[in-house]
């Protein structure tokens, strides 16, 4: 009980922290939309020539892009660099002298950021959907439920990938290059920019076994009803297995990273 309380408190503090500065809170989120507006018009241009591409019509694509935007915005810049910043400034020392599990504490903080930003992202997403005239949200409550599960999986998967790449800073000292690599991998293999169904066969096969698809492709295809219901349970099982594997892999990386700790200052 007390253990739950300490991580719940991390969530609350993170919500307060995220909303501490109104300007940066809004700018952070609005900036995500700007790049998506460009992607949106790009796809609209593509769809002027043909009505169905890769098995998706324009309405599907609109729904897909909305969910892609929503899931990408849930873990934003503030979480991206938390671990690597703590490592290269040496502030991780402060975190290590407290009785908290660093990984769980980080997840809690990311959840707090996600809640604070997610509310606004969802609100803007709905406005955006109305503006572009998107009118095909899932009708069945079961689909909505599956979608929410998929969003939760998306969140944890992305957190773990971000976290593991952050820990690599113990070896590289700088976090920038790692972050670019991480973003490239996730954007590409999650289907954030191009849906996986557009990929050539071999590349799609690769993307299907990697954990990244859970971040965008799974929730987005569930949302637009393009993930056959017969596959949903299997997909969730694979995602759960990936989350467990990444969770323990992160622990392993942490174990070796801790032996490498060299905090400057004598």
């Amino acid at each position: 009980m007390a253990v739950m309380k300490k991580y719940a408190r991390h969530v609350l503090c993170a919500i307060q922290e995220t909303t501490a500065y109104r300007a940066s809170y809004f700018i952070n989120i609005v900036s995500q939309f700007v790049s998506y507006i460009a992607i949106f018009f790009l796809w609209r241009a593509v769809y002027t020539g043909s009505s169905v591409i890769g098995g998706m019509d324009w309405s599907d694509m609109q729904g897909y892009l909305l969910i892609s935007l929503f899931t990408s915005a849930l873990i934003s810049g503030s979480s991206e660099f938390r671990v690597s910043r703590a490592i290269w400034t040496g502030n991780i020392a402060v975190e290590l002298v407290r009785p908290v599990d660093y990984q769980t504490a980080n997840l809690s903080i990311t959840v707090g950021n996600g809640i604070a930003e997610g509310v606004l992202v969802a609100a803007i997403g709905i406005v955006f959907a109305l503006l572009i005239g998107f009118a095909a949200p899932p009708a069945s409550p079961v689909t909505w439920l599956c979608f929410l599960v998929a969003v939760a999986c998306s969140f944890i998967t992305k957190f773990l990938i971000v976290y593991i790449f952050g820990l690599f800073t113990f070896w590289t000292t700088g976090g920038m290059g790692l972050s670019w690599l991480r973003r490239g991998l996730t954007d590409f293999f999650s289907g954030a920019i191009i849906p996986l169904s557009f990929f050539p066969g071999w590349l799609k096969a690769a993307a299907d076994v990697l954990p990244f698809r859970g971040i965008v492709s799974v929730p987005a295809t569930i949302f637009i009803g393009r993930l056959p219901s017969s596959q949903i349970l299997l997909t969730f099982a694979v995602e759960a297995a990936w989350i467990a594997a990444l969770w323990f892999f992160a622990r392993l990386v942490w174990y070796f990273a801790m032996r490498k700790v060299t905090i400057h200052g004598g």
């Binding site: 007390a2 309380k5 300490k6 719940a8 408190r9 991390h10 503090c13 307060q16 922290e17 501490a20 500065y21 040496g90 502030n91 020392a93 402060v94 290590l96 002298v97 407290r98 009785p99 908290v100 599990d101 801790m258 032996r259 700790v261 060299t262 905090i263 200052g265 004598g266």
Partner: protein, 337 residues
């Protein structure tokens, strides 16, 4: 009972060895070379509950590295270490409940939320009972004068205000030991004094064991009864502050102002063995003497025979001079008691 115990504690790091210039950097990229840097070696510590210990040494001597091993941040490369009977690294979570830590250059507070929220977070992290928390909060707020800025975010605090909050945070869960790594760095005199007073009080009233590193010798003399000096990773003195003075500061000095011109040759001749003129000008002279052989009165009488003294000033042996000598390698210390 010893709350801190180490035997033969060692820590070495692997550090990249780069040849100078671009070529050296490129060569390091292709074929990196490393060398071992020994930060701490063969450190034996035995600190009892309720002690207040200053851990002193020049920059890079290994102070912070020792503290980081005792707090479970770094894994020692050799030797044994026990803090409250626990291994700080392997039992990090359990050990951290018994200790409080203040790093002068870092903060436990979250930047963008009110200080009081950080306190609540730490209360939950350490699972402090509500009653204890309320008592401690009232006690620390009073002693450290925190009330006026508890509702501000840490970003807005001055360094002194922030450090006072960090002290409260480190002690909020009633730890048996508190480690302070340069707690007064960069602070003004008034805040320093307040912090010292606070540390003395918690040491005396609550029996908290204190281990602090500092370059400010006033911190050390004021707060600590025991002094451990480390240099190049090795302990070179461990004993009381008075013991260090008795052992290594044999000299005291008197500086006099004379009413008439001093006859230097005559003055030099008048000094017995163990009394020595260090500087002398026409109207001024400084004399150093063995404080175990002569009293100040003896020496003053001798000087008055050689010069017309109108004013004088007595310099007491101070820790600053000894430590400075040690840092500069001018004094070889042996283990004290």
């Amino acid at each position: 009972m010893n709350v801190i115990e180490t035997k033969g504690l060692c820590k070495s790091f692997r550090s990249p060895l780069k040849k100078p210039g671009v070529l050296g950097a490129v060569r390091h990229l292709v074929k990196p070379e490393h060398r071992e840097i020994i930060a701490v070696t063969e450190v034996d510590l035995a600190i009892a509950a309720g002690e207040s210990v200053a851990y002193v040494g020049p920059n890079g001597a290994g102070k912070s590295t020792t503290i980081k091993m005792l707090t479970g941040i770094l894994l020692p490369t050799g030797g044994e270490v026990r803090v409250n009977g626990l291994h700080p690294y392997h039992q990090r979570m359990r050990n951290s409940k018994n200790i409080g830590v203040v790093f002068g250059q870092r903060t436990q507070l979250w930047w963008d939320i009110p200080v009081i929220e950080s306190f609540t977070l730490l209360r939950d992290i350490y699972e402090v009972p509500e009653k204890t928390y309320a008592e401690n909060l009232a006690y620390f707020t009073g002693m450290l004068g925190l009330a006026e800025f508890l509702n501000q975010s840490a970003r807005r605090l001055s360094l002194g205000q922030r450090m006072r909050c960090d002290l409260a945070v480190a002690l909020m869960h009633n730890p048996a030991i508190v480690f302070l790594d340069e707690p007064t760095i960069g602070l003004d005199v008034a805040v320093k004094e307040r912090i010292r007073e606070f540390l003395k009080t918690v040491n005396r009233e609550r029996g908290v064991t204190i281990m602090l590193t500092s370059h400010d010798l006033d911190d050390i003399e004021d707060v600590c009864r025991r002094l451990i000096i480390i240099d190049t990773g090795r302990i070179i003195y461990d004993g009381s502050i008075q013991g260090l003075l008795d052992k290594y500061v044999k000299q005291r000095s008197i500086r006099i102002i004379a009413g008439a011109k001093i006859d230097k040759a005559q003055a030099v001749g008048a000094m017995p063995a163990g009394v020595e003129i260090v500087t002398a000008s026409d109207r001024e002279m400084t004399v150093e003497f063995d404080r175990f052989r002569y009293t100040a009165k003896d020496v003053l009488e001798i000087i008055m025979k050689a010069a017309e003294v109108v004013d004088f000033q007595l310099e007491e042996p101070d820790i600053e001079r000894v430590v400075k000598n040690v840092y500069e390698g001018r004094l070889e210390l042996e283990q004290g008691d």
